[in-house]
């Protein structure tokens, strides 16, 4: 019975796909008539066909392969050639994305190919697709709820443990005072809350525990005869490393830095700025997430600019209407996705690695090499003749993933491509930067230092799809760099 049901649902999926193929083919035919490059739908769907988890086995996938064979030359997987062009109507792309997300297992490769040309704004799929591309959601949709719940809980546990409140009593288990009555398995949040409630009760009763010494469990109420203080090890002026107060003050310094940056994030968007309670809440969430990252990565801590990387993620997840929980837990989701996103570009933020091979200076140098490869004259004009140090413009482009160069919706579109590029995010970013420089060639060639700098630092308005198409048409940077070295 299950087998039959599986076959039936599989057949339905194929039928939908076939209908889309035909539609796409018709669209392509008109494009071919107009003389533009086309996408080959067959190559996109055949991998998804073979990886569907069904009990039908080879006969079904055989049918899938043959159906794609009927429609057109099934070009192989991989290769950047199938990524070029792909100007299909938005509805078609939306339908295909939705179909892709409905399967019992999602093919990441196929999803990337679909997302590469931009995720349509209409279907409100971007948040989900980005979570998949960043590896936050597993590839089987039925596991999503469980997985998300686990990660979100983990984030909140981190918050509880790492955000130090010096007033709250430490875990009673370690002090042995009240530990006996609490369950030994109680985690951080539960036990410490119970402990925090107890001193206020104990202050009036005579059963305040503690044989004195370092046990500051129950602060005694002030007696009328005189000062009966409880000796404590931890106090606000403490300079000891283990002191909660000391940690609290150090954290406050990080928080101040984070707050300064978060206040300045996207001042033109009501979502982030303004006095409304929603904007305040959004800023608090982002602050907390960035602070958690700083605490969990003591080597890197918080660097100015990280707020720009988390802002689009948080915005997207908060405004996601697909899944009600997604908006509620936007902070936790954004935190995990931000961790994943920044892992590729971590070294750009580390000041000590500036001169290392993975640091920002090296990346800028590589960018210049790539530019040289494509347009030696332009490179010469910029860097040698007018001595425009690439750090003046490329630094911000590369560290902030172009989030400051374009309008917010355009940034989201660019990140669609960066996140789904098969050659890696860094590579894609470099190609887009090269495309940006090449695009304004006429202005740069005619200009001097001031004009070049102004153009590249305040990039003129452009349709990002043009830039992305150019970037997509380039071979991966690693290939170019290998030949030029």
């Amino acid at each position: 019975m299950e087998y039959a049901k599986g076959l039936f649902s599989r057949a339905k999926e194929l039928a939908v796909q076939t209908a889309q193929e035909i539609q796409a083919r018709a669209a392509n035919a008109s494009l071919v008539a107009a003389g533009m490059p086309v996408d080959t739908p067959g190559s996109v769907d055949s991998p998804s066909g073979s990886s569907r988890d069904v009990s039908g086995g080879r006969s079904i996938s055989g049918a899938g392969a043959s159906s794609s064979g009927r429609l057109g030359p099934a070009t192989g997987l991989g290769g950047s050639t199938s990524m070029t062009g792909g100007i299909q109507s938005e509805d078609v792309r939306l339908a295909r994305l939705q179909a892709e997300l409905r399967g019992s297992t999602i093919n990441l490769h196929a999803l990337k190919r679909l997302a590469f040309h931009g995720i349509p704004d209409k279907g409100n799929l971007r948040a989900t697709v980005w979570k998949l591309l960043l590896g936050y959601l597993p590839l089987a949709p039925e596991d999503w709820a469980k997985h998300c719940a686990a990660r979100r809980t983990q984030y909140h546990v981190f918050c509880d443990e790492l955000i130090v409140d010096p007033k709250r009593q430490p875990d009673p288990i370690s002090f042995g005072g009240l530990g006996a009555s609490r369950s030994a398995g109680g985690g951080g949040p539960g036990a410490s809350e119970a402990a925090a409630a107890s001193p206020l009760e104990a202050s009036t009763s005579a059963t305040a525990p503690g044989p004195g010494g370092g046990d500051d469990m129950g602060p005694l109420a002030l007696t009328t005869e005189g000062s009966s203080g409880v000796p404590v090890d931890d106090h606000p002026l403490s300079l000891a490393q283990t002191s909660r107060w000391c940690t609290y003050f150090k954290d406050s310094e990080v928080m101040v830095q984070v707050e300064r940056d978060v206040m300045r994030t996207h001042p033109d968007m009501h979502f982030f700025t303004g006095d409304s309670p929603e904007a305040e809440a959004h800023r608090e969430d982002m602050k907390r997430a960035l602070f958690m990252y700083a605490k969990l990565n003591p080597g890197l801590r918080y660097i100015q600019g990280m707020n720009e990387l988390i802002a689009p993620l948080y915005y997207l997840f908060k405004t996601d209407t697909q899944d009600p929980l997604s908006s509620q837990y936007a902070e936790a989701d954004a935190f995990w996705c931000f961790m994943e996103l920044i892992s590729d570009f971590r070294d750009h933020f580390c000041a000590q690695l500036d001169n290392a091979q993975s640091g920002i200076k090296a990346t800028i140098r590589r960018l210049m090499l790539v530019l040289q490869h494509y347009d030696k004259e332009l490179w010469h004009h910029i860097e040698v003749v007018h001595k425009v140090d690439p750090q003046f413009y490329a630094f911000r482009w590369l560290t902030l993933l172009l989030s400051q160069e374009f309008a917010f919706p355009d940034t989201l579109r660019i990140w669609d491509t960066i996140l789904s590029d098969p050659h890696g995010r860094m590579d894609c970013l470099m190609r887009i930067c090269t495309a940006m420089i090449l695009h304004v060639r006429p202005i740069l060639m005619r200009g001097d230092f001031t004009v070049i700098l102004k153009t590249l630092q305040r990039y003129p308005p452009v349709d990002v799809n043009v830039l992305l198409a150019k970037a997509a048409s380039m071979p991966p940077c690693t290939a170019i760099l290998a030949t030029s070295v």
Partner: protein, 188 residues
């Protein structure tokens, strides 16, 4: 969570050269929100040092001070009315009843006085009477002839949080800093 430092009766340079080194190490800028000095700093130069510890300094005049300052102060810090007076005006010196009188006059929740060079924290009714003692352990006429003629250097840090005051007493005992904590609830 506002941290307020209460310090006084230093008698620098007459009776003591400087704050104990261990105290100076603790009093680094950046953590304390405001300072209350109960008087008898004596040296104006040292007053400037006290100003560097936190953003605000509130000082009252003691009987040996070399600068002009008000006799009494009533401050509003974090929702608490804090009264400050040196204490040499309160006769008899250190008398609980007389101090309560002053407290009622000022309408203060917390009254900080000095002069006796002896740390005290006393709850009188719903009010708190604090004496930070002498931060340098300077000689005191009041203390001479009693059980403890040489005062222990001490100062007080108050943590004002909503309805709760946590008083941290820092004392220099045998060359080591000893910290004690006392809690006080305003509503209680």
């Amino acid at each position: 969570m506002v941290l307020v430092l209460c310090i006084g009766d230093l008698h620098i340079p007459h009776r003591a050269p400087d704050l104990p080194a261990k105290f100076k190490e603790l009093l680094k800028p950046g953590k304390i929100h405001s300072t209350i000095c109960v008087g008898n700093v004596c040296s104006k130069v040292f007053l400037d040092y006290l100003r560097t510890i936190s953003g605000e300094l509130h000082v009252v005049s003691g009987d040996f001070d070399e600068f002009a300052a008000p006799e009494q102060l009533v401050l509003d810090i974090a929702g608490f009315r804090v009264g400050v007076c040196h204490g040499h005006q309160i006769v008899p010196w250190g008398d609980a009843e007389a101090i309560s009188l002053l407290q009622r006059q000022m309408g203060a929740d917390i009254l900080v006085t000095g002069n006796t060079h002896k740390f005290e924290a006393r709850k009188a009714g719903s009010c708190l009477a604090l004496n930070p003692g002498s931060a340098t352990g300077a000689f005191s006429v009041a203390a001479a002839g009693t059980q403890q003629p040489v005062p222990t250097p001490s100062f007080v840090l108050m943590d004002l949080d909503g309805q709760k005051v946590t008083v941290y007493v820092y004392q220099l005992v045998d060359g080591e800093v000893r910290v004690e904590k006392i809690d006080y609830n305003k509503a209680a």
